[in-house]
């Protein structure tokens, strides 16, 4: 059963929950603006070198990117189901859904690993590390700088999300949550959906602009 004590500076559980949630939405806003800066760089350079983006994007593997999109959407679904089960006092199923979410995240990272190692092998690397002669445009390294920084930052978020989901999974197992208190699960869920949200834009912008 839940042993959660409401912090003394809140009137009641509802107020504590809403405050945590507002704080977390604000954090998600800052996350969007963090990625926003990279998207602005993408937009500017793409408007300067449209042909180069077209050519360089063709080097990315659409099948792997598309598969990863599906993996993340499924993980977002199982995350939502996990949060739902915690809210309905069903920790057994909640643990199962959270574990599946972590598994999907791991699949995503494994595919990312294969994509990255292939790019590194070919020399499709950022800026000065670039050494690939299959693309004629002299500005091609720029695309791969953006590719690695944007998908890399997203990948870091996936890893952090895996850690956070593991943490709430263990707490669900321990019986920390109930339909009266489940704030951490809900917030980790929001974080995970944002990770999915960013990939929903990264996928077409990086892989599909051909």
């Amino acid at each position: 059963m839940s042993t959660h004590v409401i912090p003394h500076h809140f009137d009641n559980a509802e107020q504590a929950y809403q405050s945590s949630k507002l704080g977390f939405w604000l954090f998600l806003v800052s996350e969007i603006l963090l990625f926003g800066g990279l998207f602005v760089a993408y937009i500017v350079f793409r408007s300067l070198y449209p042909d180069m983006f077209h050519e360089a994007s063709g080097e990315l593997n659409r099948i792997m990117g598309g598969f990863n999109t599906i993996v993340l959407i499924c993980s977002s679904f199982t995350m939502a189901m996990g949060v739902n089960r915690v809210q309905h006092n069903d920790p057994k199923k909640a643990v199962m859904f959270l574990a599946i979410t972590i598994a999907f995240a791991a699949i995503f990272m494994v595919i990312k690993y294969f994509e990255y190692s292939h790019k590194i092998h070919l020399g499709l690397l950022p800026a000065g590390f670039y050494h690939y002669d299959g693309i004629t445009h002299p500005r091609a390294p720029l695309f791969f700088s953006l590719y690695f920084v944007m998908t890399g930052l997203h990948g870091v978020h996936v890893l952090v999300g895996m850690g956070l989901i593991t943490w709430v999974l263990l707490r669900v197992k321990r019986g920390d949550f109930s339909n009266q208190y489940y704030t951490p699960v809900e917030l980790v869920g929001l974080y995970w959906h944002l990770v999915d949200l960013i990939w929903i834009y990264l996928f077409p912008l990086m892989y599909l602009i051909g």
Partner: protein, 258 residues
């Protein structure tokens, strides 16, 4: 927490199904060439998917009004960020096409350029001084004595050009090769961002300090792709990838628009 009492599971399943379908649609749509509309289709589908995730998975629909305002404000800020940046980019005159053709005229015939530039001239030394002060002096020192402000942090220390000692050889071609490729195992970086013209200018400037300035031999000339007599190879075996350093672009634009 009352708003979570009812079960959303059916909604989640429907949203999941729509998201999967939209992913397939966006991949299929991208494989058909609609010209410029492709981008708009992809972005429209992504935005529908994003809205579904936000409204149902993150249940912003039905959340407190304050949370809705806070989260949607992110997209307002993002719009300001994008539009103000783009207003600058769009207002700039187009420069790229002019530059590309110009540069290829020079680097396309690299051997000839190399053969010409490897002979030191007073103009080159003067030009090299300016580049040296900007690129090299921090480590090698303003007086070329290896005592730049950053030298303290380095091991091995930067070369004192007045010593007459050259680790990788003092022939013009060898010094050029070191400037171009750096010195592995030391902090000396590769200056691939400089044009061959600028690299040669620096080489001639550096060598003007040294009491030990050996002339090129067959071997050192081969290092920069020249024949033993110092003339260019008739057929270049290496593929030349033109580079466009900002300074060079500006220089070209100024030359073209007096």
């Amino acid at each position: 927490m009352s708003d979570h009492k009812h079960d959303h599971r059916k909604t989640y399943l429907n949203v999941w199904f729509i998201l999967m379908a939209l992913t397939v649609i966006t991949v299929v749509a991208a494989s058909i060439n609609f010209g410029k509309i492709n981008l708009f289709i992809a972005m429209a589908i992504a935005s529908v998917k994003a809205s579904l995730v936000i409204l149902y998975f993150m249940h912003l629909k039905g959340d407190a009004t304050l949370n809705q305002v806070v989260f949607l404000s992110a997209f307002g800020f993002l719009a300001v960020f994008v539009l103000l940046t783009l207003s600058d980019v769009i207002a700039r005159p187009p420069v790229a096409p002019v530059v590309v053709t110009k540069i290829q005229g020079i680097t396309g015939n690299q051997g000839v350029v190399m053969a010409r530039l490897r002979n030191s001239t007073p103009e080159q030394i003067q030009k090299g001084k300016a580049i040296y002060m900007a690129q090299c002096a921090t480590c090698h020192g303003e007086n070329a004595d290896g005592l730049g402000p950053a030298a303290v942090a380095f091991n091995p220390k930067p070369r004192d050009f007045k010593s007459g000692y050259w680790k990788l050889g003092g022939e013009p071609s060898r010094v050029y090769h070191t400037v171009e490729n750096g010195m592995p195992g030391t902090p000396m970086p590769a200056f691939k961002g400089l044009t061959p013209e600028d690299r040669w200018a620096v080489v001639h400037f550096i060598r003007s300090f040294s009491p030990n300035t050996p002339a090129d031999t067959r071997a050192t000339l081969a290092l920069i792709g020249l024949k033993p007599d110092g003339t260019p190879q008739s057929v270049s075996t290496e593929k030349v990838i033109p580079e466009l350093p900002v300074d060079f672009i500006i220089e070209q634009i100024v030359k073209e628009n007096p």
